[in-house]
Every structure is written in structure tokens, then in C-alpha cells.
């Protein structure tokens, strides 16, 4: 940790990594509570893995159609496919009531396999693909930081405008519809925002492990506080600690920063669950339902 702080002024990548972590924490806090509240944890996982296809396509195009790579980089490629997957799920849910689990699994695996396939067909070692799959917080560029700011601004604006609609929809779909909220539209917007958050957070821990950051800070916060506003606040703070502290602690060791963040997120959540169980026993009550 001391090593990290000592090197911070000299190594610009430590600063961009720190900023990327904090910007991601904001994304966690803004969208995580809805992902948990709307019960779309697995949907988000599927969107993340489907997005790998877009990353692979961008890398493939960069090698074989260099002109195309000017407007499609791996981040954009992942974003486009993630948003498309979210819209597909939203339409499927409107039509069938819920997304069939098997179709979700198919989407999940297809994105992954297309991404890997396209990367294999591209000559050279695909460091960009690996960065997207497993995170690359040690080498975040300023351009990526700028993109993260934009994506966070989008999430913040959507929450500021539609928080009440989102919450009403999460709590009781039918009642939200009776209050003049289009369930199909809100559902689609929430899924698209989750897809954007997935790509934001992939910068930190990678698309494969992104689900931990998207949901665990919110789930941890939900154990201790009683209102959604508090969950948003607490989960942002929890995520901010998770995206900075573990990587500082393992700086200079062989442990990868991304793995440290994911393990810390899971550890924090499990510890929170244990504390709740322990507290429940102390006051002679069971855990809350």
C-alpha cells in the first residue's frame, strides 16, 4: 500500500487506474440497487458475456479492416453488443413475460464463443481481449477514463430523472403500470443501463467477473439499511473501497489487482451475511426474510 502511494506521482497508470476504480464505484452505486431490486443479476451476467462477442468483433475488424477500427474499438464493440443484448431481453420479456432461461444461457455462451473465435482468427496475442475478459485496471488510458465519465454521467442522469419510476417498477410492476408507467419501457431502460454499467465495470475487473461488482456492493448495503436511497449511497461507498483498497494492498505482489478486488467483494458480502446472521441470533430473532 505504501509502495502504491509512493509510486503514484511517477506512474500515470496508477492514477488512471484509481480514477477508473472510483468512476466504476459510482456506476455500482447508481445501477447496482436496481439490478438487485429488479432481480436481473443473471440477466446482467448474460449481457456481460454476450458483450465479449462485440469485443472480439472489434479486435477482428481492427486487424482486417483498419479503417473500421477508427470508429469501433473494443470498448465500443462491447457496448454495442451489450446494449443490443439488453434490448433483445427486454423485447423477449415483454412478449413472453420472462426471458426463457435456456435462451439466456444460449446468448451467454454464444457471445463468449464468438468473441474467442474472432480473436483466434486475428493474428498476434490478443491483449485487448484478455484485458476485457479479466480486467486491466493497471493500464487504463486517459481516453478510457473519459469514456467512463461519459457513461457515469449517463447513468447519473437516468437515475436522477427516473428514480421514482425505476423504484415503483422494481417494487410492483402492475401498480407502476396503473400509475401510467410503461412497464415495457422502464424494463428496457433498466436493462440498457445495466448493460452500460457492465461495460464500465469491465474496465476494472473484466467482463467475466463483472457481476461481482455490479451486484455485491448493493447486496451488501441492502443487508444493513432500510431504504433504497441509503442502499445507493452505501453501495457507492462500499464499491469505492473495494475498487481502490484491495489493489493498493496487493500492489507490488504477484497477486493480480482484479482478482484481489473480486475476492474482496465476495469476502465483504459473505462477512456482511455472517454479521447479519450473528446479530439475528444475538437479539433472539431469525434473519429477516
Amino acid at each position: 500500500m505504501i509502495g502504491f502511494l509512493r509510486d503514484l506521482p511517477d506512474n500515470p497508470f496508477l492514477l488512471t487506474g484509481l480514477l477508473a476504480g472510483l468512476l466504476s464505484a459510482l456506476a455500482c452505486g447508481l445501477i447496482g440497487p436496481y439490478v438487485v431490486g429488479r432481480r436481473m443479476v443473471l440477466l446482467s451476467g448474460a449481457i456481460a458475456h454476450a458483450a465479449v462477442g462485440g469485443v472480439g468483433l472489434a479486435i477482428f475488424l481492427a486487424a482486417y479492416a483498419p479503417t473500421a477500427s477508427r470508429w469501433i474499438d473494443p470498448l465500443t464493440g462491447g457496448l454495442i453488443v451489450a446494449v443490443a443484448a439488453a434490448i433483445f431481453i427486454a423485447v423477449a420479456e415483454t412478449r413472453w413475460g420472462s426471458m426463457p432461461e435456456t435462451l439466456l444461457a444460449a446468448m451467454w455462451a454464444l457471445g463468449m464463443s464468438l468473441g474467442v473465435l474472432l480473436a483466434k482468427m486475428t493474428p498476434g496475442y490478443q491483449s485487448q481481449l484478455m484485458a476485457f475478459l479479466f480486467g486491466n485496471i493497471s493500464y487504463v488510458s486517459w481516453r478510457q477514463v473519459k469514456t467512463l465519465v461519459l457513461l457515469d454521467a449517463l447513468l447519473a442522469a437516468a437515475t436522477a430523472l427516473f428514480h421514482k419510476q425505476f423504484l415503483a417498477f422494481c417494487l410492483d410492476r402492475e401498480q407502476a403500470e396503473l400509475q401510467g408507467v410503461s412497464a415495457a419501457v422502464v424494463n428496457g431502460v433498466l436493462l440498457v443501463l445495466a448493460a452500460i454499467a457492465v461495460i464500465v465495470l469491465a474496465q476494472v475487473v473484466g467482463l467475466v467477473m463483472v457481476i461481482t461488482l455490479l451486484t455485491l456492493p448493493a447486496a451488501t448495503a441492502a443487508i444493513f439499511v432500510n431504504s433504497i436511497a441509503a442502499v445507493i449511497l452505501v453501495s457507492t461507498l462500499v464499491a469505492a473501497v473495494l475498487t481502490t483498497l484491495p489493489r493498493m494492498l496487493v500492489y507490488g505482489t504477484v497477486i493480480s489487482a482484479e482478482s484481489a478486488i473480486v475476492i474482496a467483494a465476495v469476502g465483504t458480502y459473505l462477512a456482511a451475511l455472517a454479521v447479519r446472521e450473528g446479530l439475528g441470533r444475538l437479539v433472539g430473532k431469525g434473519p429477516k426474510a
Binding site: R39, A160, L171, D172, A222, N226, S227
Partner: protein, 267 residues
């Protein structure tokens, strides 16, 4: 008196084309502005379906429904609806007040928070159902009966111009039922209420008109018959209706509505 709900020759199937029996068959019903209408019938008789049609959540295959003179979907925010089963999903923590406030969504302004007027209306509504002291509690800490009352508060907070209640007494204990009854009586002086229930005694004791629904629908006035003899037997609070031939409940074997009412009330 102005009609609030006009249902004309409505047929409804859950699976269309109609291979099976319709859930609702040629229903015609008018709810007036001063109505306090009970909707009785057996399970599966179509009570909830009829309420959902009035809300515009589903559409009839035949016939027309007009609410406040227009199509239900356009005015559904003016209808307060208390479903039979609380469908509130608290995967993320929400307080009782949070849930009641969602009844203000259509009236509230843009932005993150509900305004002062919305909070006041929600707190007021909780007070009317006797739950003001629980406003800050987590929703999942409420009992079934308390949840039902909180959902009524949500409908009240919306300042609806028509109230639809689906089995509001199903999960409620006797003292709470009395509170609810008083509340409904008071409300019925200002807004029309349609209350679906399988509890015929409850409906005949409190409602002005009763609609019997079992695929088909017939409307009775509660004072059409309440025999003195029944009053002797079951106590004076029990009034009753006599199902005539042609009434769907008569056809399904309930010839003596009085007996049913008596049985329920003697419990």
C-alpha cells in the same frame, strides 16, 4: 347520477380463439358515482378478471368497457386498485412509506424524490388505515393483514376517483375488519367503490348493491329481500339476497343466498 364504469355485453376468454368456455359471458354492468357495489361469486367466477378489465390491464374480446366515459387504459391512474395478493417485491429494501408513495407516482413531479405534498398524502393515507406508526418500517416486517391495509393506503394516497378492492378482508382480523369497514363506509360517501369478495355476509351487510358473478352477472339491490325471520335467526346485522332463476349463483346451486350468508356470519 353519472355512470363511472359502463360495461356493455363483455365477453372474455383467457385463451382465444374460444375453444373453451369464456371466463366472462355477456357481462353488462354500470357503476354509478354514488355506488358501493359488492361483487360476489365463487373462486374462479371471474371477479378478479372483471376488475382487471375495468383497469384496462386486459381487454375484452367482445363488448365495450368505458371508465369515466373513455377507454380504461387512458384513465387507469384515476382508479385505486387493491389487489388480493400483495405483489410487492422487496428484493431491495423499501419502507412502508416507500411503497405507499408509489401510489403518488402519477401525480408527482420529475426528479429523485417525492415532494412534500406527496409525503403528506402518503402519511395521511397511512393514518386512515391505522398504520402511521409503521411508516418507517421495512415492508417485509409487516404481517399479511398489515400489508393489505398498507396497499389500501397506497390506493388512498393516489386520491383515486374510483376504488376497486379485491378480497380486502381475506387476510384481516376482526378488529381490523371493523376499522376497514368504517373506512370504506366513509370513503363511499365521496367515491364509488367496487369490492370483490367471496364473503357474502360481509358484502350483504355493508353494500348498497350486489353483483353476483359466476361467468355471468346479475345485479341485486341488497334491500330486495331481507326477511324478518332471517333477522330473528341470524341476528339483525344479516341481510340477504335471494338469487332468482337466471342469476348465475342460483344456477350454480346457490338458491338460498340467505343460508350462505347465515353460515358465514355465524362463524
Amino acid at each position: 347520477m353519472n355512470p363511472v364504469v359502463e360495461i356493455e355485453h363483455v365477453w372474455f376468454w383467457y385463451t382465444f380463439p374460444p375453444a373453451s368456455q369464456p371466463v366472462l359471458e355477456d357481462i353488462s354492468l354500470t357503476v354509478f358515482a354514488d355506488d358501493f357495489l359488492g361483487l360476489v361469486g365463487p373462486n374462479g367466477g371471474g371477479k378478479t378478471t372483471l376488475l382487471r378489465l375495468i383497469l384496462g390491464l386486459i381487454r375484452p374480446q367482445r363488448g365495450t368497457i368505458r371508465v369515466f366515459g373513455t377507454s380504461p387504459a387512458q384513465v387507469r391512474h384515476r382508479i385505486g386498485y387493491v389487489p388480493q395478493h400483495a405483489r410487492v417485491d422487496v428484493a431491495i429494501p423499501a419502507t412502508v412509506l416507500d411503497v405507499v408513495l408509489t401510489g403518488r407516482l402519477h401525480r408527482s413531479r420529475w426528479g429523485v424524490c417525492y415532494g412534500r405534498a406527496d409525503r403528506l398524502a402518503a402519511e395521511n393515507a397511512l393514518e386512515r388505515v391505522g398504520l402511521k406508526h409503521l411508516a418507517g418500517r421495512p415492508w417485509q416486517s409487516l404481517s399479511g393483514g398489515q400489508r393489505q391495509r398498507a396497499l389500501i393506503a397506497r390506493a388512498l394516497a393516489a386520491e383515486s376517483q374510483l376504488l376497486l378492492l379485491d378480497e380486502p378482508t381475506a387476510n384481516i382480523d376482526l378488529p381490523s375488519e371493523q376499522t376497514l369497514t368504517d373506512l370504506l363506509h366513509e370513503l363511499s360517501r365521496h367515491i364509488p367503490i367496487v369490492l370483490a369478495s367471496h364473503d357474502i355476509a360481509f358484502v350483504t351487510t355493508h353494500m348498497k348493491r350486489v353483483a353476483c358473478l359466476n361467468r355471468r352477472l346479475t345485479v341485486h339491490r341488497v334491500d330486495e329481500l331481507s326477511s324478518d325471520r332471517l333477522r330473528e335467526i341470524y341476528g339483525q346485522d344479516v341481510c340477504t339476497i335471494v338469487h332468482r332463476p337466471g342469476c348465475p349463483l342460483f344456477d350454480s346451486g346457490c338458491r338460498q343466498g340467505c343460508r350462505l350468508a347465515g353460515e358465514t356470519s355465524s362463524l
